[in-house]
Amino acid sequence: MTAPSQPLLEIAGLKVQFGQTKAVRGIDLSVMPGEAVAVLGESGSGKSVTGKAIMGLINRPGRVEGTVAFEGRNLVGRSERDLAAIRGPGIAMVFQDSLDALNPVYSVGNQIMEILTVRLGWDRGRAREEAIRLMEQVGIKEAETRLGDYPHQFSGGMRQRICIAMAIALKPRLLIADEPTTALDVTVQAGILRLINALRQESGMALLFVTHDLAVARQVATSLVVMYAGRVVERGKIDEIFARPSHPYTRALLASNPGAVAHWSQLQPIAGNPPDKATKVTGCAFAPRCPRAEPRCRAEAPELRDVMPGRQSRCHFAEEVAHV
């Protein structure tokens, strides 16, 4: 067991590049044991790629640089065999597309049991008991009879629950959830979020929750990392960021969130598009869309810096943004 003071996961200078496309341009992020961190960003901000890079799931021709230290050991550049040992009991992942995340030719019971028989060497009887327990734990009714059912016989929400059951089967210390509720409708979504919260409280596992949805992030996480154009632009406690964002992008996100305003007419969409991932960005990547950009923003790239206790922002005018 790691000491509480040491981060479970510490990412430093992570860069992911596919050919000329820079999906992640260097991010730093840390997750303490048992902590729930949300990674927030719009489509193409590099948040999903970050999740995959942590797991070592970036395939050729993708290139990963920087360090991903899990319990003090760097995972970048490790052999597939070393990574396989960490995937599962160390870090597990739940994917966005639950419709396709289960193999269609095996029953769900088989798929859960297989993890236990292969990785833990359990006999099938014991694995079966545990599979039933896991299915009940993630809220599947009549688990025993549904064990032999195939993925297509379950609804989307149920399939995502089974994916979660598979992810927690080996009791991971860190669960990476890559937009696990995006493909589901809102009522099902709430159930899944409650489930993730409950599981986290029971087992004490840490959570890295990747999402584009502010409201969802707030329901599961205590810390928030906001990403824009492959970089972290703001980081801190989620409630504090909601109360006082210190980066114009975060501020704009909050203003464009339907849940945060009283009437839809007050919604403010963010004009423009994120920068092209193939081009080199000079100055602040958000400057072309920023309502308060100044000549300095286009010339000089801001660093991620401490702007108040427990808060970092990548903006030249973070203090002013925070105190508007």
Binding site: M55, L57, R60, E80, R81, L83, A84, A85, I86, R87, G88, P89, A92, M93, F95, D97, L99, D100, A101, L102, N103, P104, V105, Y106, E114, I115, V118, R119, Y150, H152, C163, M166, A167, L170
Partner: protein, 312 residues
């Protein structure tokens, strides 16, 4: 999504599904007849060949060019006799076993090897993939008949050599089909999620990818059965295939050709046997392909049974 969902629920094996497949088969008359013909031919070959092996090679010069459709000398000569007075019917049955054996063994060797290489090649990609695919391209460019002729001319023309040569020539078909499918499956989320749970590459290929590649390869193999049989017949016809006392349908056509004007039956009957087998295998394979494709299967089946299947 819905389409791929339907398509992949089929391959899982269980007795219920075999029964269901048979029921579907019986609704398609052409495919049903083809299946019966093939099964009957295999049965005749398996049961009849050991019993008739000696009779098939018995020469009776008094019955030289004995015409067919006459029971004067019993059922054994109902399809006539060849230049050395050997029974055509008996030779057909003995030849059936050899033809099926050669075709079956060739398809089995080629499909299993090709599928394995194709899946590995497609899954890992990179240099190994590039090299394997170029080798496959080279095999495709060399006419398979020429390759077989050259190899069998140098080596002893035996059943094993014939099978190996034909298998190498047909390998690229399976290799490409399974590689293409693996390339697509490799990107599916369930493969990624399997990796995220720490499954090894070998286990992913065997447990996640193989079950979805097998049905396609099976369909191709069925189609190949007919063309391999024709290729083997062609080689025998050219005289580098099997040698007496081994006999297959190609040998029979080849030997009978010399006397085509005097005794048409020595060529026509074995030729017809090849035609019927090839046609049946093609029709059945065509049905298998359509049946594995939900869009075409929907057109082939009565609506009610499909709805039931969807509900159950």
């Amino acid at each position: 999504m819905a389409i791929s969902d339907l398509a992949v629920t089929r391959p899982a094996r269980s007795s219920g599904r075999i029964g269901e497949t048979l029921a579907q088969l019986s609704r398609s008359p052409l495919a049903f007849i083809s299946a019966i013909v093939l099964v009957a031919l295999v049965l005749v070959a398996v049961i009849g060949a050991p019993l008739l092996r000696d009779f098939a090679n018995t020469q009776n010069l008094r019955l030289r060019f004995f015409p067919p459709f006459s029971l004067e000398h019993g059922w054994g000569y109902v399809l006539g006799a060849d230049a050395l007075g050997r029974s055509i019917l008996a030779q057909l049955i003995v030849g059936a076993r050899t033809s099926f054996l050669v075709a079956g063994a060739t398809v089995a060797v080629a499909s299993i090897t090709g599928m394995t290489i194709g899946m590995v090649s497609g899954y890992f990609g990179g240099i190994v993939d590039a090299v394997l695919m170029r080798i496959s391209d080279i095999i495709v460019t060399v006419p398979s008949l020429l390759l077989a002729l050259a190899v069998l001319f140098v080596l002893e023309p035996s059943v094993v050599n014939l099978v190996l040569v034909l298998a190498i020539a047909r390998l690229p078909v399976y290799l490409r089909v399974s590689r293409a499918q693996t390339l697509e499956l490799r990107e599916r989320v369930f493969v990624e999620s399997s990796r995220a749970l720490g499954t090894s590459d070998a286990a992913i290929i065997w447990r996640d990818i193989r079950p979805l590649v097998v049905p396609t390869v099976m369909t191709v193999a069925m189609l190949e059965l007919a063309s391999v049989m024709l290729a083997a017949a062609g080689l025998s016809f050219l005289g580098v295939g099997l040698q007496r006392p081994d006999v297959d349908w190609g040998t029979l056509v080849s030997e009978g050709r010399e006397y085509l004007t005097r005794a048409w039956w020595a060529t026509v009957f074995p030729g017809t046997a090849i035609l019927i087998t090839a046609l049946s295998a093609n029709l059945l394979s065509n049905w298998m392909r359509a049946n594995a494709d939900p869009l075409q299967a929907a057109a082939m089946e009565p609506t009610s049974s499909r709805e039931e299947a969807a509900r159950s």
